[in-house]
Amino acid sequence: MIDERLVLDANAVAGDLEELFGIDLTAVIHRCAHCGNLGPMATLLAYVHGPGTVLRCSVCTDVVVRYVRTPWGTRLDVRGAAELRIELLG
């Protein structure tokens, strides 16, 4: 049972994502592999109260990114993102 009041957006885990990718991802455009929606990563819905973090598409709610941190490292699954549009910094 998920309490929808606890759902955040990916802004809340922007620090974790920047640690993994080395750049800010919140303004990066992603394409959902399930429904094709294009939008900034920050608009993904963030489920942060489990052992790992799940980021879901704000349109179809399918899983886009999930990761779990352990004392030995981080496991990252980005199968739900068909594309990330990372622009060169000017």
Binding site: L6, L8, N11, D24
Partner: protein, 246 residues
């Protein structure tokens, strides 16, 4: 746009101020602080003696400055792990681990223009205050409306400063709504943010404001959906959901 890798740094608490009965602001001095953009946040990490770590994100309340000083405004969450430590344990001179600034989406800079429609619920006002403080410091600021939902008048964070900013008559309008109790003679709104309230806000600034919404998830969704129903381009609406996670 990080010019340096995101790493944990030791910040020193320079000043602590009471904002409301359960909200305090903490001025942190961060060594080699890269200047932030209004709307960004930092991650704070606490480590217990036996190694257990707790990490939370807090929005930056201050406008960017040259001096490596960052203000965080933290609401005390009774069953939280990090905010009670900030409220009950931290004193001036103490050190905490922070990393940031973080986030390039929920940000505003004067070059983005306006008009601005800022919608806040509770401590969701914090990143919007950084925007308003930045806006107040520039020549010919864009017009801005803040719609701010609090439980009671005593729960309004930055109440005096918001009154002062609005008194500058530089195009800032502040609309308060008090959802739980209202002082005698209250003439503002007294309900949750709804479509007629958003309509009234839009009435003063035009149909396509650059909109920033920050607060509890349900408020953010109600406000964002309401604006879209009223014809605001979704591409001009940025949201940040606050959860009871602290």
């Amino acid at each position: 746009m990080p010019s340096q890798p995101l790493g944990w740094r030791i910040a020193t608490v320079a000043e602590i101020r009471d904002e409301t009965s359960d909200v305090k602001s903490f001025s942190l001095l961060v060594p080699q602080w890269q200047t932030h953009r209004p709307g960004q946040h930092v991650d704070v990490r606490l480590t217990a003696a036996y190694g257990y770590q707790a990490q939370r994100s807090y929005s930056i309340a201050s406008a960017p400055g040259p001096d490596g000083r960052v203000d965080l405004t933290v609401e005390r969450i009774a069953e939280g792990e990090v905010s009670p430590y900030f409220h009950d344990v931290l004193v001036t001179g103490d050190e905490v681990e922070v990393r940031g600034p973080i986030g390039g989406y929920f940000v505003w800079e004067p070059s983005f223009g306006g008009p601005l429609l800022l919608i806040a619920g509770g401590s969701g006002v914090v990143p919007l205050m950084a925007i308003l403080r930045e806006r107040a410091g520039v020549d010919a600021p864009v017009s801005a409306t803040l719609v701010y939902s609090s439980r009671t008048w005593d729960d309004v964070i930055y109440r005096d400063e918001l009154e002062q900013l609005a008194a500058n008559e530089d195009g800032l309008r502040v609309l308060h709504t008090l959802t739980r109790a209202q002082p005698p003679g209250w003439t503002g709104f007294a309900r949750r943010i709804d479509r007629p309230m958003l309509e009234q806000a839009l009435g003063g600034i035009g149909p396509q404001p650059l909109s920033y919404i920050c607060g509890p998830t349900l408020l953010v969704e109600a406000a964002a959906n309401g604006l879209v129903e009223l014809g605001v381009d979704p591409g001009r609406i940025r949201t940040e959901r606050f959860g009871p996670t602290s």
